[in-house]
Amino acid sequence: MEHITLLLAIVIVTALVFDFTNGFHDTANAMATTISTGALKPKTAVAMSAVLNLVGAFLSVEVAKTISKGLVDETGIAPEVILAALVGAILWNLLTWLIGLPSSSSHALMGGLIGATIASIGLSGVNGGVVVTKVLIPAIAAPLVAGMAAYFSTRLTYKIGKNTAPKAQAKGYRSGQIASAGLVSLAHGTNDAQKTMGIITLALVAGGVLAPGSNPPMWVILSAGLAIALGTYLGGWRIIRTMGKGLTDLQPQQGFAAQTSAATVILASSHLGFSLSTTHSCSGAVMGAGLGRKGGVVRWSTATRMFVAWGLTLPAAGLVAAVAEFVARQGDWGVAAVATFLVVSCAAIWIISRRQVVNHTNVNDVDADGTPDSGDAQPGVVTTAIAAVTPPPAGAPADLSATIPAPSAPPTESARSAAV
């Protein structure tokens, strides 16, 4: 370990930060419905999810070995490229967290890798076909598959159980939800903590510390597992609120159907060779369960904002990563500038988030109109943020300038936070 350069150290720390954001961004996937239906207390739910994520991180290292899935040419990938990719992914994760929208952390990471690779060695470094098969098709298929499964099972459970005593139901569905949420958490730990292990291992190989093809060292596994567990425990309450309360109103039956559907889709997809994003599956399952109950509604305005965020994930993270790669390539000062930019941006987003705090005490509180993200204290902040992310009907160009910092990354910091 004595050969770890400053650049490599920055990459490793950044990777752990990404892992942390991944954890709190994805808590919602496992626990949103469990929390909103009251099956578990908010703090208990995130603690359970955190422990299972940590356990999951130690279960295998298969995913870590194939991190970018052939998306980009991994041979000769420089630490700067990895750093830039992580910066793009982290910022997108934080921004979507700020406005309370679930979006795929894996897509953000892939977007970052693609953007940084294009900036580094050009379009030839990216496998376009793989982008379509591994990113675009799954993004459309996941919510449909999970949504339909949740829809039909919700219909069924209401049909069979319509004469059952409510008290027995509440108790039964509670344990059912906890079991399926536990499965999702465990699967998340095995998949997503390993992505970070893979990234760090990739960086260590690129920096010449490890031999190519090595397994992740123990300290990498441990730190990645701890980072994702800590992130999960802190909980992305804003996203939990959107998924648990914002998209639709869930009763325990629906929560159970949604959670079971999500767990099944995640396990089926990862073992039948067509990997689907956890976030997309869970969001789709929640919507399907919402539609499956008689009189149930899905708030399509919130859902539309979420779909828009999904569509923007790849280009937005990619663009930030491309800019970051360009700056980092300039030498030591460039790397320092990118690192500073990341720290300042994270701090800015955190400060903005403090204007309207969402935590375990108010995660289930929703305004009368049912739109959780139009806040009580400071509606202006979040509404503006949404306006900045929701594209005008005309299309993407105007919107990109609103979401992404301009090409010269560090100086635009103030402009960026103003836009947010």
């Binding site: 999951g56 279960l59 295998s60 376009g128 076909g129 793989v130 379509v132 098969t133 098709i137 298929a141 598959v145 999970a146 339909m148 499964a149 949740a150 039909f152 099972s153 919700t154 069924l156 459970t157 069979i160 159980g161 004469n163 059952t164 005593a165 008290k167 027995a168 139901q169 039964g172 569905y173 059912g176 079991a179 399926s180 499965l183 465990l186 699967a187 095995t190 039956q253 159970f256 159907a257 079971t260 559907s261 767990a263 099944t264 889709v265 396990l267 089926a268 997809s269 990862s270 073992h271 039948l272 060779g273 067509f274 689907l276």
Partner: protein, 73 residues
């Protein structure tokens, strides 16, 4: 660029069938237990409903165990 439609289709089919089957089983189990409780409240017992409920929950537990084995493997 070749999309593995067969894999996608099987993910779709397996997810749909497994979810509906599991949720259905679980609901039947919950219903059976509630019948048993109702019978117990009147001083009686509903052995068939209770046994059925336990079978349903056992199958659900087996499915969870299979899920865990998939994650660990």
């Amino acid at each position: 660029m070749d999309i593995d439609w067969a894999a996608l289709g099987s993910v779709f089919g397996v997810s749909l069938v497994a979810t509906v089957a599991l949720v259905g089983l679980f609901t039947l189990g919950v219903q059976g237990l509630s019948k048993q409780e109702a019978a117990a409240a009147e001083g009686g017992s509903a052995p068939l409903a209770r046994t059925g409920a336990y079978v349903c929950f056992a199958l659900c537990t087996a499915a969870v165990a299979y899920g865990i084995s998939l994650i660990v493997a």
